[in-house]
């Protein structure tokens, strides 16, 4: 429905309605975010006042300071950081060669791997987590960040593989062949020709893996019981249970802080992520 193919009359009627609909979407999508931000800057008195104002009358960072203090946010953020970064590094290292093989070699393995990537989406986590819990318990990796890293690695691998092989497939094979004709070794071809071209896709995949690890809740809930090892989502969820009305502001502040890293990374990769989806969709 491009505007060029719309008659002027329809356009005159349709335009205001379209803007109205767009405004509706902006409110639905944006208002909860705005409210979260505003709540984080309100004082406890303001939050429970019978005549609440929409905007904070005296915006300050008290809630943030108190949330960090009380809920042990820094420690939890540290745990989350360790887990998300380790997962990202491991996933990137092991998925890179596999993605290359998937994209470039036509073997039976390709079909199997693709099937697994899709299948891994269908099975409910509960089926995987129970035996995984038992296995990890046997080798002493329940209640350990290492165990969590292991689980996250396996769990984010399918998607990372899928993304990466797409980016690799987008690099013309002819470039490699040209390199080979010039007598460069395979490793050299990969390092000098493929890697630089792949860099943006690699960054996007890594950041996406990081975000998944940083945001994950279910596996952490099952595998981590020791409060000292809690990741950020766990700490936040526990905070919810204990919320008094007065602490709403702190809850909002803590939530905002927890969102910043993934939001920041997402802002970096979103163009690439959406264009990747786009190319996949167009070809499909």
């Amino acid at each position: 429905m491009t505007t060029t193919t719309m008659s002027p009359r329809t356009r005159r009627v349709a335009r205001p309605l379209q803007y109205l609909a767009l405004l509706g979407y902006v409110i639905f999508l944006g208002f909860p975010l705005l409210f979260l931000v505003l709540t984080a800057f309100k004082t406890p008195q303001e939050l429970i006042s019978p005549n609440p104002t929409f905007f904070p009358t005296n915006p300050n960072f008290d809630n943030f300071v108190q949330a960090i203090d009380k809920a042990n946010l820094i420690h939890a953020a540290g745990n989350s950081l360790i887990v998300a970064v380790s997962t990202t590094v491991i996933v990137t290292i092991i998925s890179l060669p596999a993605a290359y093989a998937l994209a470039r070699f036509k073997t039976k393995l390709r079909g199997v791997a693709t099937g697994w990537i899709l299948l891994s989406q269908v099975f409910p986590f509960i089926l995987i987590i129970i035996p995984l819990f038992l296995v990890l318990k046997q080798i002493g990796l329940v209640d350990s960040l290492l165990g969590l890293i292991l689980v996250y690695t396996v769990w984010s691998l399918p998607f990372a593989l899928w993304m990466l092989q797409g980016y690799i497939a987008g690099i013309p094979v002819e470039l490699e062949e040209a390199g080979a004709m010039d007598g460069a070794s395979r490793l050299r071809i990969l390092r000098v020709i493929i890697l630089p071209l792949l860099a943006p896709g690699l960054v996007a995949t890594s950041l996406f893996t990081f975000i998944s690890g940083w945001n994950e809740f279910f596996f952490a809930l099952v595998l981590i019981q020791d409060p000292a090892l809690q990741t950020l989502p766990l700490t936040l969820a526990r905070f919810v249970g204990a919320e008094g009305q007065v602490q709403l502001g702190q809850l909002a502040a803590a939530s905002l802080l927890a969102t910043i890293p993934s939001l920041l990374f997402f802002a970096i990769i979103q163009r690439r992520l959406t264009s990747g989806l786009l190319s996949g969709a167009v070809k499909g």
Binding site: M1, Y25, V135, N215, V240
Partner: protein, 314 residues
């Protein structure tokens, strides 16, 4: 990610004459294995093996705790499940949730994608906002909506009071409103992937098709129905299928929003199975629930995808 398979660049065309081809292929196969090995080992150890084990566990009486012997008990779990009204109730809720969220998400996202595909001013605001939930931890989304829906201080009730409606609804705590409220949050949380995928699809619909239809006198609505929708079809099928699976298996959002309450009104099957396994320690029974969930979702997908494939052929 879409279900439609991206055609991949063909493997390097072999320039060597025919006789040496088999050898080359087997070498390629070996290389592929070697390259995949680092990824394959953890996947097999911590994903394939547990999954197989999990399916098997569903046929045992496994329980949490030390020194508990586990025995196969055949179909006993499933006989017990068949008579477990709470589980089927949770299953029903899970289906309402999964289909409700998926359908509403699809309609809302299609509308937004159509708007974003137009040449509207300020559309970048909506586009940016539509992406944000993707980056947010589900736990934070749930906390945010708890603030929104708070019966006393939440802006939704306040807004209703301001226009003279009864603004004292306990959205997440009331039997009649809890599930609808949770579904709305589910739609909000899942809009990015659906919108962006549909938008990508819309941008790939050839404009000359639209122009041709317009010249033939087709109205906006007719063009949408007869040109846009058919062209979008593969993408719609792929994204709704994925959404359905994701929603049926989702956990964190509802766990933090309501923990399954009030009175089990939002007890999704995943939450139910989680409680069974990690609160009551009935591992075998919970795994059996997981098996039932897989079978049901597989049947739905089979029927849906086959139906789509058939109507496409006809």
């Amino acid at each position: 990610m879409t279900l439609t398979e991206t055609p991949l660049a063909a493997s390097p065309p072999s320039k060597t004459p025919k006789p040496s081809k088999p050898r080359r292929r087997s070498k390629q196969g070996r290389d592929a294995w070697l390259l995949m090995l680092p990824a394959l080992v953890p996947v097999v150890l911590f994903s394939v093996y547990p999954l197989a084990q999990g399916i098997l566990l569903g046929f045992t009486d496994a329980e949490a705790g030390l020194n508990v012997t586990t025995n196969f008990n055949g179909a006993e779990n499933y006989q017990k499940l068949a008579g477990n009204e709470l589980f089927w109730n949770s299953f029903r809720i899970g289906l309402v949730w999964a289909f409700g969220v998926t359908i509403l998400q699809f309609l809302a996202s299609l509308g937004l994608a159509l708007l974003l595909n137009l040449d509207l001013r300020f559309r970048w605001i909506a586009r940016t906002l539509a992406l944000v939930p993707w980056a947010m931890p589900p736990v934070v989304i749930a906390i945010m909506w708890r603030l929104m829906l708070n019966p006393t201080y939440g802006p939704i009730n306040e807004g209703m009071r301001a226009v003279g409606l009864p603004g004292d609804i306990n959205w997440l705590g009331d039997f009649s409103t809890a599930l609808p409220a949770v579904i709305v949050v589910g739609v909000w949380a899942g809009m990015p992937q659906t919108t962006i995928t549909l938008l990508a699809g819309l941008q790939s619909v050839p404009t000359d098709l639209h122009e041709a239809a317009a010249i033939d006198g087709a109205g906006v609505w007719q063009r949408f129905w007869h040109v846009t929708l058919p062209a979008l079809r593969p993408i719609i099928i792929a994204i709704t299928t994925l959404d359905l699976i994701w929603n049926f298996n989702s956990f964190a959002l509802v766990y933090v929003l309501t923990a399954g309450g009030p009175g089990g009104q939002t007890m999704l099957p995943m939450l139910f199975a989680y409680n069974e396994a990690f609160r009551y320690g009935n591992f075998g029974y919970a795994a059996a629930m997981g098996n039932v969930m897989v079978v049901v979702i597989a049947v739905f997908l089979f029927v849906y995808l086959r139906g789509q494939a058939r109507s496409r052929l006809s």
